[in-house]
């Protein structure tokens, strides 16, 4: 098979001592319509904590739609309808008594294009804490520093914390946005093509960062970059036309896929 190029990542999970990983997200028979357009079709996926799950698939197959459904950002689109259930740690995210604000506080999101606030670097990170009622100045300062360190950008910004975030480069802005999410110590981090607007060096930094973060967080990442998916993820889901074609260990998806459409896609034979 011509899949050798992706053999970079070994089956890490099996090598480690078996750990009991709980399910963070359990998607059950989930459908989504934009008006009449059926964008997600009967999705069934279980995602475990402290794993990196990559979502791959051709343009328009519903990757962003799915990841935006996980924190209900998709609610912002008018005329969206959903059916089925998505359970976050056992609670249905569509149920009335699960407020989106709580869900989005527990589940962070990093967007494709960096979107810092037009505020200082410090205030960008402190924002999440402030809106959730944290006033303790010392705690805020410590958390800002910790988050920036975690996002591997502290050294670059520590002398200019009170300058505008818009003075940062694109790659720095993206790591700032990651730090902004980390400040709330989320359980899950959703990332929609977080490196597609970045140069190779910044991309590498973000990838290393993801490797570090998975010690603590569950990460779900959409990517068009096959190498990236194979390098950084434990599980990979292949989406096509709003359906999940295959979902398995990343090693299996890239070396021994069951579905020929998966193979066609990752080898680039797909349209």
């Amino acid at each position: 098979m011509a899949l050798v190029a992706f053999k970079t990542k070994e089956k890490k999970i099996n090598e480690q001592a078996p750990v009991e990983r709980q399910t963070v997200y359990s998607t059950k028979k989930c459908n989504l319509w934009y008006g009449n357009h059926h964008a997600l079709k009967n999705i069934n996926l279980d995602m475990k904590e402290r794993e990196v799950t990559a979502i791959i698939g051709p343009s328009g197959c519903g990757k962003s739609t799915y990841i935006k459904t996980l924190n209900r950002m998709v609610d912002l689109v008018p005329n969206v309808k959903t059916s089925g259930a998505i359970e976050y740690r056992g609670r249905n995210i569509f149920s009335k008594d699960f407020h989106v604000e709580e869900l989005r506080t527990r589940v962070g999101m990093v967007f494709q294009k960096p979107n810092p606030f037009p505020k200082s670097i410090f205030e960008n990170i402190a924002f999440g804490l402030r809106i959730h009622g944290i006033k303790n100045k010392k705690l805020i300062h410590e958390t800002v520093e910790k988050s920036l360190r975690q996002a591997a950008i502290w050294d670059e910004v520590k002398d200019r914390l009170h300058d505008s975030a818009y003075g940062l480069s694109g790659g720095q802005q993206q790591r700032l946005c990651i730090a902004r999410s980390l400040a709330l110590e989320p359980d899950v981090l959703l990332m929609d093509e977080p490196t597609s607007a970045l140069d190779p060096v910044s991309t590498l930094k973000v990838e290393e960062l993801i490797q570090d973060l998975k010690e603590k967080y569950s990460i779900i990442i959409v990517t068009h970059n096959m190498q990236q998916a194979s390098r950084i993820s434990d599980k990979t889901a292949f989406f096509l036309n709003g359906e999940v074609v295959e979902y398995d260990d990343t090693y299996t998806i890239f070396n021994n896929p069951r579905d020929h459409r998966t193979e066609d896609y990752i080898t680039g034979r797909f349209g």
């Binding site: 950002m73 506080t105 967007f111 979107n115 037009p118 505020k119 809106i131 709330l184």
Partner: protein, 313 residues
């Protein structure tokens, strides 16, 4: 071949153009014409300001600047002891401006935030033209609205209010500038990119937290500029105050009594029979010049603010 002919034709036509110096004469005339038009408006403005200054000087030859600035009474019509202290007119203008701002700023901002962040597309499409109509109503109509509707209404609630007072025209001037605040502030809010809003919502912010702590500060420069411009419009407003505010220049801060503003004094003299060349005649230039300095300062402030707070997205 036919196609070849066609090509040769294009070529020969272009050849003619090359030989004629390529550019038509019009291309050179247009910038000159446009410059002349611009020059006319600049010259007009300079002319107006010069007239204002020259006539103001004539006034100050008859009445000292010190008297104008420090005396506390404005009795230009008194035959025996006329007094030209501008303070009462300033106080009148400030009272109206203050009441108008208190009315217009909160309402204007609330409507702008509602339209840009909360209203559905349908409501927005309905509200915007209504606001534009409101902005197009002649001020004399607002003036009669103040005198015949707002004043009686207020007097029914507060019987101590006089027929001519500061509150009624102040509120109505406020109503007049609301559309301006709404329209400019709404533009400023709409220009904040949605990606920034989404960033806040994705951190678990409620809609109001997002609006108040992200969208509003991001649009602050435009919002402040809209407020300052609207206030400078209120300072210059004439008809509403002339009709509903009375014509009693007073330095008293009482809001329930008749007053006179700088602009309504100018109207009073212009429509009365003060002869050309009298001190009264020149006094309207001095008052007009004071007013001009006021609005100029406000406009400069607006520009300063929008430059100072400007956020690039």
């Amino acid at each position: 071949m036919k196609t070849n002919d066609g090509q040769n034709q294009v070529q020969s036509l272009l050849e003619k153009k090359y030989q004629n110096g390529f550019l038509s004469r019009g291309e050179k005339v247009i910038p000159v014409l446009l410059f002349l038009m611009a020059a006319v408006s600049v010259v007009t403005t300079i002319g107006i300001v010069l007239t204002l200054i020259v006539e103001t000087f004539t006034f100050f030859k008859q009445i000292s600047i010190a008297e104008f600035l420090t005396k506390k009474d404005w009795y230009p019509f008194s035959k025996t002891d006329a007094s030209y202290g501008v303070l009462p007119l300033l106080v009148g203008t400030l009272k109206i401006t203050l009441i108008a701002s208190i009315t217009a700023v909160p309402i204007g901002l609330a409507v702008a935030i509602y339209l840009s962040e909360y209203a559905s597309e349908r409501v927005r499409k309905l509200m915007k033209p209504i606001l534009e109509v409101l902005a197009g109503v002649p001020t004399i109509v607002y003036g009669f609205f103040a005198l015949t509707f707002v004043t009686p209404l207020l007097r029914a609630i507060f019987p101590s209010l006089e027929m001519f007072n500061a509150v009624s025209p102040g509120i109505v001037v406020g109503m007049m500038i609301i559309p301006m605040i709404v329209s400019l502030s709404e533009d400023a809010l709409s220009s904040v990119p949605d990606s920034v809003r989404q960033g806040a919502l994705a951190l678990g912010a409620t809609k109001w937290e997002m609006t108040w702590r992200v969208a509003f500060p991001a649009a602050l420069s435009g919002i402040m500029a809209s407020i300052v411009l609207a206030i400078s419009r209120a300072i210059g407003e004439t008809m509403i105050v002339s009709i509903a505010g009375g014509s009693t220049p007073t330095a008293s801060l009482d809001l329930t009594t008749s007053l006179q503003t700088m602009t309504s004094y100018i109207v009073q003299v212009s429509t009365g029979d003060a002869g050309f060349g009298t001190t009264i005649y020149y006094s309207i230039y001095a008052v007009g010049f004071t007013l001009f300095l006021f609005t100029l300062a406000m406009n400069m402030l607006a520009q300063r603010i929008s430059r100072r707070f400007r956020e690039e997205y």
